[in-house]
Amino acid sequence: MKQRIGVYICHCGGNISDYVDVEMVREAVAHEKGVAIAKTTVFACADSNQKEMVQDIKDNQLDAVVVASCSPKLHEVTFRAVVERAGLNKYNYVHANIREQVSWPHSDNKAGATQKAIQIVRAAIAKVRLSEAIEPLEVDTTQAVLVIGAGIAGMKAAIALSKMGVKVYLVEREHFIGGRIAQWDVLCLTNETGKELVSRLYNEIVSNKNITLYTGAQLIECKGSMGNFAVKLKLNPRYVKDICNDRASLRKAIDVCPVEVPDEFNFGITKRKAIYHNFPGEYPQAAVIDMNSCTRCGLCAKVCDKIDLDMKVEDLELNVGSILVATGFDPYTPAEGEFGYKVIDNVVTLSQFKRLLAFSEPGKLQWKGKPVKNIAYIYCVGSRQVEGENKYCSRYCCTATINTALKANEKFPELNHFHFTRGIRTYGKQEQLYHNASKSGHVFLQSYEDDPSRVERKGDKTIVRINDILTNRKELEVEADLVVLVIGMVPRSNNSVADILKLPRGRDSFFNEIHMKLRPVETVIDGITIAGTCQGPKNVVESINSALSAAIKSYSFVGKDKLMVEPVVAEVDPNLCKWCDKCTRACPFDAIFKNEQGVAHVNDTVCKGCGMCLPVCPTNAIQLKTFTDNEIESMIDVLANEL
């Protein structure tokens, strides 16, 4: 039982003290059983206060500490480290959340907030009195990282990790790497194309012996935890053997294939065969057969002996210490009829327009055989929705559109560009592109938030109308040969990775980091990091920066061969256990077994501390460290008994 507890109540520079009378809290808890000192502090987390705490612990022989401040998600780690520096065990520290769960939600009721803060601090004191010192468990780590997604973020992270001497498994669901950037072609701010960028990354990956690349590979299972994940992949075959050098016979095989389907690489504006390439110079340079559309007619196999329609799906098991998720985004798919999409035949998405530009010959731009002169761009399609789920701004699209339009001018000088915007967001240096476009005659219009632009069919003409802010509410209309819907980013649909890894999503449905500034690439699942646009819209540079930050964090989980893990595990009292098997069945990790004494026993290094075994035990023989009956029930007693 702890007898000399130090209690610190943080003002959080007003975040707490504006609503909670912190001095009153201090007075109320100063005489709780076991409390040796109770103080208030403007910033508990500041270095000067941390030093003072260390000094207090030493000077007053404190044996346990409570800090009442923000959510433990932010600074529990900080203060555990403080008490450790002063020579205490970090589990003799309890964090009381009086900001996110008191001062903020109860800012409308100062008296109630203060009362609740007092109760919460008292409960924390009650818990820390019963706290015991426990030593962290050491586990061996597998010095390998699984990188999911071979777009630019995943590839860059894989390269960075491999350079640190770590084994990297780079896994791509598609049969070709490069992700969205491979489909991008023009990028802004430099003259490097997406394809060039992808090919540089690919070449570095294949020449690196630390990286193993799997294409057509899907994560289907993940077990274990930080330091030791056991993952299972499903490897879908290409049905084309090796890397086919015999381009001529492969060409013939494609020619004879009778099946034609929309080519998703070109977002459906062209067709491809069931056996296909992405584009000339794709990576890896090998064709693939799409078994969802293949009729197994066998014509291709007759002209090319590299084709083997009997290849089987294989499973592969890998062990890794950390997982870096870089699964990217999907372009938003407009609903049928949204700004004429799929209803009016010269309405396309920005993605489709970019592909059209990429494969059209210079000269005169054509769409479905008709010349294109006037292009209308409708911005914020699927982003900043007034009605609809996507409230967020997709960040990349204003710049990408203006850049695409400028680059289109180089290839097709006769085009006229009309931008139907909701306020241009070419942030930072990208502003220069907006400036250049305005100067070179692009027309920018801006609609009201509650009165979006409209795309209409009038006879054989497509008309875009706007109630324009910039010309003082004038109703304007443009006859467009092509309407380009500037679609935002949405999280990947059909992302089974999220379900398998249990990654939490934010309000925008993208994967969520623990804290945007404190731990921007980590997830609540220890050992799993996130990079690139799976976390939210980003441009190329921002994706690369986040990939490298995630890589350095993943490296910290696998860089050393041992890793300290939380010793919060279940414990069986052998005197109470009557061996009934219920706990072993409840345990999702197979951590409990019957030992030689014939009672249940928990394997420390396998137990994840979830506590699922606790309520099923008929004799209440199981306790979870730091969540024991004594601790929880003393908290309940204090909280129930209001002062």
Binding site: S103, M612, I632
Partner: protein, 134 residues
Amino acid sequence: MNVTKNARILVFSTVKISDPAIDMAGLLKLHYSPKVYTISVPCSSAVKPRWILRALAKGFDGVFIAADGTDCPYGESCTEKTGEIVKKTHQLMKESNIDPVRLKMAAICSVCSESFIKHINSFNDTLLKLKTTE
């Protein structure tokens, strides 16, 4: 102080899933009754019936389990297991003549702040009605 206006509620929340949602309710300045207290556990399937019964015996008007639901990082069976706990505790409550409505469970995902507030407010109303009829 609005002591009479609000029921006293103990919430069992989970460190990785429902705690962030409750924290975010604070961040978004969504208000709820200050008589709502939370105790965090790793997983909602770890809540022992005796803790719930003790809370009710010691003076809480109600206990709310903010469950992990399908987001549970520890396993698929969480929803079912937490449901079992509630069922078992309801049984024990009936045996002790405690109205089972005083224990409620709902899955609260890591961004379900608004849903948390809705649940807590309606639970609060239920408990207050119960108090006045008693």
